[in-house]
Symmetry: C2
Subunit: 374 residues, 2 copies
């Protein structure tokens, strides 16, 4: 790990772990959840409110920022922290997942991915080396290796071949990252385990990544449609295959019950658009499960979204008002619902950290599921 980084597991409770990841932009208590600021902004929440709600780290998307405003422009502005006015840690993905899911006319080769921008049709090439270069321009604290993420339901030999290529790309990512000069000394590079739902392929991937050597390890290729049962079955073995002394990051996950089940299986970090996207769609997450505020039964409900939640939305506003805002498509509805959802996610992470620290995670998880999945 670069000197500016460290990771320490401070508590264990079954497979669950609590710890601290130190970065040049501050400490992150784990298990941690990163809200997603795709284009350098979380939808409908200000940075100051994110900080107030307990967000410790922001995820930004390399693919989107590369297309607009461009890595070079952000680099000239002094990096993403300066450009967007956020002084806490930033994690950037590699662009690999989104270039395959969002762009037009993709051509995948050993070299990388050729694609056309979904914004203006312009032609681009993303490779491990180029992804490292863009993430360096963005000044990311946690850089992700460039990988390919196939659907979990592809044939095993396809999954295996894709994983093998991702491991070669991981090596090239490591080399590209190391060539980044000063940035490589003050940022961390995470490798990404692939292999879909297959224990043997996951093990091969984990070993190859450990041989290359990364500052943290992501579990990729999950939450892509395989379902919670298959995801948990994979998490029963995948985290333990990764180095014990480094953070483990489950990308793009998930629902509150996904997070609890993944922490239970040894995951330390998460990111997901769900709290903000659901908030914009009128869905609130609460300790008693999700709640759709479009439902007419909330029209005169004077209770807060969640009695246990301490956010300003729950302290100030009734479900009736939120129902009115959501039905009227008022921007404030999206703002208040997102604020609550992000607050809830952060409170959930804090509750998990507390439960692990106090050696009672199993009871916490049981109680959580009793109330949340009722």
């Amino acid at each position: 790990m670069p000197e500016a980084f460290s990771f320490e597991v401070t508590h264990r409770c079954g497979a669950a772990r609590a710890g601290v990841l130190i970065t040049p932009h501050g400490a992150i208590k784990t298990p941690a959840f990163a809200p997603v600021g795709t284009r350098g902004a979380v939808k409908s929440v200000t940075h100051r409110d994110l900080v107030g709600l307990g967000a410790q780290i922001l995820l930004a998307n390399t693919y989107h920022l590369h297309l607009r405003p461009g890595g070079d422009l952000v680099g000239r502005a002094g990096g993403l922290h300066d450009f967007i006015g956020w002084d806490r840690p930033i994690l950037t993905d590699s662009g690999g997942y989104q270039v395959m899911s969002l762009s037009d006319l993709r051509k995948l080769t050993e070299k990388g991915v050729e694609f056309r921008s979904h914004i203006d049709g312009s032609k681009h090439m993303l490779t491990p080396e180029r992804s490292m270069e863009i993430q360096r321009l963005l000044g990311s604290d946690i850089v992700m290796a460039f990988d390919e993420c196939p659907r979990a339901d592809r044939p095993r030999d396809e999954i295996a071949a894709s994983m093998e290529m991702s491991m070669r790309w991981a090596q090239r990512s490591r080399e590209g990252f190391n060539a980044g000069g000063e940035h490589a000394e003050r940022s961390a590079l995470f490798g990404i385990q692939q292999g879909a739902l297959d224990e043997d392929l996951r093990k091969i991937s984990a070993d190859k990544l450990a041989d290359i050597g990364f500052d943290g390890y992501a579990i990729g290729g999950l939450a892509v449609g395989e379902g919670q049962e298959a995801m948990f079955a994979t998490l029963d073995f995948a985290p333990a295959q990764l180095p014990q002394d480094r953070p483990r990051y489950l990308m793009g996950v998930g629902k509150p019950d996904d997070l609890v089940g993944a922490v239970e299986r040894g995951v330390d970090m998460f990111d997901c658009v769900l709290p903000s996207r659901s908030g914009r769609n009128g869905q609130a997450f609460t300790w008693n499960g999700p709640m759709n505020l479009r439902n007419a039964r909330f029209a005169e409900d004077t209770d807060p979204l969640d009695n246990r939640c301490t956010c300003d939305t729950c302290n100030t506003y009734s479900r009736a008002y939120l129902h009115h805002l959501v039905k009227s498509q008022e921007i404030l509805g999206a703002m208040l619902m997102t604020e609550h959802n992000i607050a809830f996610y952060q409170q959930l992470m804090q509750a998990m950290r507390d439960a692990i620290g106090e050696g009672r995670f199993a009871t916490f998880a049981k109680d959580f599921r009793r109330d949340y999945l009722r």
Copy 2:
């Protein structure tokens, strides 16, 4: 005036006045600007931020709230303050203007206006009495008389006939309001002067309103397309026709230079959607004039929107980031731009109050126009 209300002009400077309007939900320093929360929410700003930015009073629209969620529902929730979680003064319009501009199939008679909802086509009737009843259910602090507002370019006899009817409606509004029991004792009723650009008609209207007796007087029928020059020409005589000891409210105005020119002519209160609507469209108001953040020249501009502004947007973010957000249609762009615009409007009002208090309003207005209209 009901006992819970009082208005005092504390300073005069030419025709400009500074004062304090006391309401049961708090004091309003005048000249004051009310952000517009059409459906009980200012678009893209939270209530707590509005308060932080200096908003002293919120305007809500009777027409919109009557159609959704309905005056009865808001009444059952304890009124608009409780329903929307806002504990400062609320001013509601009468619905008269919007029923004519927004609804379908309007039929205007001496009795009132019959119309169909623009939301679901349902049939409604709005009369002076019904408007008073709905505003009572909303628990408004400042209730507006029900009036008709014709276009200023209609023939004089039409303007005169409309004004005469509005004055009969003003009398019926007064009676309907007075019949409102306890609410009439803790809220104020404002009459609305009509007569378009005609000094004689405005005088007749003002005298009729004074005879009926109101707690404040609005100048209606302006900012409906007549242009700033004609508006100012009317404001050269209209405010002085109204009682000196009551607040004067110019409805639906306006641009920053409109506000300065109207205060200069004796207006005490304003409301307008402009700071929020413009913010959502990428336009910022600054001491150096309006600025369209869509413009490519801001792509790498590291300055804040306005060096003199003290809002969080100006303290934290660059024009380059705001340009990126606006171009990317990020909700955060609308939020930050609106926050700045409302902050700027409140800072402008404060600067006018200070200038009046210190007897230097003419210099202030001259300096303002030099920088703003350059």
